[in-house]
Symmetry: D2
Subunit: 345 residues, 4 copies
């Protein structure tokens, strides 16, 4: 299968290349990078020397449609909504790592992204690609909106409790923490090393674009209209997301009860690992891999449950899940090309 990457110089793209390099069925035909046309991937990422010497091209939709079977968008917000429709019209399968097609309602997109939404007729064709939860839909999709990094960690962490109705969805609070690579490769004072090293920052409180994405799925799965309290913090580390999720239990369940339920829920999910009682995952324990590791505490004193869910934001939170979705789409083993272990320590 011939694939292309649009948006070839960001961290999402470079991680896609890492996994495609290990993938037996996919070959990388084209890398589109407007700002770097003519340069080789290894000029921009020296760690790719001798591996990806492919030259980056300008976007040409006709060429894309002619030469490749599948297009990955690893673009900033606002790009794929302009380009994807013509690819959809031509029947090119797309996996979109950006947020442009994740929100079903254009008005919600416009409120949070502060720009025009994609054409609703195309929006309707997109499938939300949270692999473990929407496997069947993904297998039949033509356009996959790959989930955001925070929603992936948060939703995989809390959905089993929602679906079992063991928690009150209106009480969910998600305190999320991310490594700095989540902010991308564009430089800013916030991500300047001297300002971020040995430091801890809260940011975009109450304003993060991933809030409506999480709410959309929580509402769908709980059947309730609800708003979620979701906070984001920048951690002085490169990769990794941890979502610490709090919710009121509606039934009396011990930590063991909940762990058993999660293990059953994710029985056929090779990338989700549930930790034993008293054991909570650290982000480094999934570093570089497609795992989502989950630890659980049911606190009898407070009658609340605390869920710790960790992923590598660039893998399960972006490129890894995109490859997983490509596998699902093609009925390949979900793990194809993704069977690398976490790099620890």
């Amino acid at each position: 299968m011939k694939v292309a990457i649009v948006g070839g110089t960001g961290y999402g793209a470079v991680e896609l290349m890492r996994f495609i390099n290990n993938h037996p069925y996919a070959t990388l035909e084209l890398v589109i990078a407007h700002s770097q046309t003519g340069k080789k991937v290894s000029d921009v990422y020296p760690h790719m020397q001798d591996v990806w010497e492919i030259q980056m091209d300008e976007l040409n939709v006709g060429e894309l449609q002619k030469n490749v079977d599948l297009v990955f968008f690893a673009t900033p917000p606002g790009v794929s909504k302009e380009i994807a429709p013509s690819l959809m019209d031509q029947g090119v399968t797309c996996i979109d790592l950006s947020g442009d097609f994740r929100l079903e309602r254009p008005d919600v997109y416009e409120t949070w992204y502060e720009t025009t939404a994609a054409d609703p007729s195309y929006l309707r064709k997109a499938t939300y690609g949270l692999s473990e939860i929407y496997k069947e839909e993904i297998q039949n999709a033509s356009y996959i909106a790959n989930p955001g990094c925070y929603p992936t960690a948060s939703l995989l962490g809390i959905l089993p409790l929602i679906q079992q109705k063991w928690v009150d969805p209106a009480t969910i609070i998600i305190d999320a923490k991310s490594g700095v690579s989540g902010a991308g490769r564009s430089t800013s004072l916030m991500t300047h090393f001297a300002e971020m090293n040995d430091n801890l920052k809260a940011y975009k409180l109450g304003k993060h674009k991933h809030i409506p994405e999480i709410e959309q799925i929580l509402q769908k799965e709980s059947g309730q209209l609800l708003n979620v309290t979701f906070s984001t913090h920048l951690i002085p580390m490169t990769r990794g997301i941890m979502a610490t999720i709090y919710s009121d239990l509606t039934v009396q369940k011990s930590t063991e009860d909940i762990i058993n339920m999660y293990e059953a829920f994710y029985e056929h999910a090779p990338f989700v690992r549930i930790r034993a009682n008293g054991n909570y995952p650290a982000t480094k324990e999934v570093y570089g891999s497609n795992y989502c590791d989950i630890g659980i505490l049911s606190d009898e004193r407070t009658r609340k449950v605390t869920v710790i869910s960790v992923i590598d934001n660039l893998v399960k939170g972006a490129a890894g899940q995109a490859i997983q979705n490509m596998n699902l789409l093609n009925n390949w083993d979900e793990k194809t090309g993704l069977d690398v272990l976490p790099v620890y320590p």
Copy 2:
């Protein structure tokens, strides 16, 4: 005023020495360090060379009582409860950075610390030294239980809302994050550099000794029996604590309303700084200083308030607040010896 430090080789002690070095009225007479008797401070902490060449001694209560006016305990749990009573009997003022005299109820101490509590008759003589909240009690105290690092950040962050009854105390969730120096100087796999660098860990969920300390004050100030949900995370940085505090608003108050109330509440507190609307403090912005910086968001969508409270865990969370309490005890200006700015970046 002649002071002694008991527990001379930990981070609390070494920070006390940094501030005593700048203090015009206090001189360091004795450093007690059981395990390092005979060594100089600078043998254990080379950064003190030419500054603190004082030799460390064995504990001798009689000597202490004879030679010093005030004793700082910078000891692990379980030490001061054995030693302090005889000093109290002799009328030696003490500021205790450990947790031994913070909890009023011996049974609560015994549940959380898993060891015998101090003698209740002595326990009753201790004053909880949260400087900004209990200034008058501190000024008249003879034994000060210096607050824990997490409780300091958490309580300074939430108490104004409690006292105003603008939040429902039963809904408080505190998601706390700490730099690794909070774990002290004893080595462990958890704080081993290769395991902690570029990593993020949740730990002691539902079990942290600071939970009953926070609850004790929340109960006292709210007049309600309540349990608090409090989680702790280890951040790959040396210093700093951030408490992200969530609570349900009981009244409709905007972010500006709450900021104004906090500014009034802390009008005479030189070490508490309230950030403007939309501005949230980062831990590095108080690094090395005695400040507690607070940012506030009232979220209209969720009717919850989020408070971000940051301190340097070794300063306002330990040695700095201890010096502040020594100043209060002696009716010196609260800032004496503590007027260093944050070291930024």
Copy 3:
């Protein structure tokens, strides 16, 4: 091929398991870990959950000899010299990641390691496993002394210039910098996070065990008796070694001349990448991979050459090179099981 790992709880062992997991011809039969007998690998390394659930055993030489074809030693100094001889006698192939069999002269070992050397008759059977330089010897070896991390980076960086006689070997100065994982998993104050984070330390100046190892090869390849100035620094990062190597040029050669010579020298070495003029490798650019990346500057002002050589200390500096040597021994493609890209950023 059935393999065993002796010393199963260190970082070398856990990296071996990462690569064996990807290796098509090697299966892990036994993990020997004296201190953790009965535990599973994933008990000690939670990131291995669901992957390596193998139980760790006590050492039993007879069992080893009966059940496996190849033994990896990932043990501290002083262990393999006791155990390996009986395996050698039984004809079991070994790859030893420790330093016990690297030094040909027992007296040199004893001076630097401050303990008795291995029996000379066994020492003579060991082959120094610097894969790119001693490929043929390795292919015919029965006992491979896998090189140290610093020697690997240093020697791959300077040997082409030595063999061409373009530098004066007596003038070589190696200023080496390492990530903290190089110090292993045993905790110490030096590698305590609060002491090492945001810090930079020089250590073991003039005393590092890798000095005689580097000298042995420099002497062999240059034919000169010489002592090398070699300094080691601990960098606040987890993985990576950089050797900055200085030497006086004996001939006038431009940077381009030297780059061309290196490219020819390493033409058949898939894991050595020579950077273009003006481009110097960073350690993160080989993170998690078996590459050694080399940058070169010939400075006309000083008539000195500066070589920057970087590796991942746990991969090319330990487990990766061990797998590469296993491949060479078996006449498998050198890259088998090692074709993972650097994890960047």
Copy 4:
């Protein structure tokens, strides 16, 4: 004494403000910051809230001359050479943290800085402000060229050996390592957190602007024409410089001999601390302070000396030394305003 800072938003300026805040004789009258005119210091640096609420101004040389006694330049290269001459004409004392007046020869400046040098008639009036070495010249100076961070660490580390003629100056190699704050506050891909964290980079090999500055002083003090080999590396930490300096001994001197000589050399230098035999300084041990700590090894095997010299690049390498020079100029105690201890850990 009334002072002004020109270049008010960089790290040099913000450190000057930290020390001026503690200084009994200097008051900050004006902060000039072209790009931020009208904003307060605390708008740009929130950690300064309630401390430095001073508003930043446009440059107006007449105002400067009228209102202040001393001007600090904390500007990028190329700024002070344009502005300073008119201040010199007006008799305003200046301390220039930039490189514009450090090099005596305009042609050397132009080669390394790739721009026109300052007018030679003004260049001649500048005094190189390496406090410990040129104390008398500084006391009589009117324009002080404050040394660069790398030259400060390097020269304080090696000059005693040069002046004693115990080393051959032509053999000096300086392998220098710096925290990332040395690159300033302007963002770049090189100092982007995700690219620099957990990473180690060599940069500007053979091209750094501090090379001619070091050579100028080495030549002056040794009386020899020489070129120095000087390499720079970026360390994943915020502050700190370590210079590892190698040179051939011309006489047989033990480590103890050299330590004794250094102690005598720096007997009256309160900010230089010589470590005992076998003890090497780490950068964190001077963090936030004006110390330069030096460790020494005389290696009998190689007949080379290795000197480890560490400073905080923003303090002794910039703002701290500038304050020290202001003190010398005014015949105040050298330590005035600078008596803060290192912040450790």
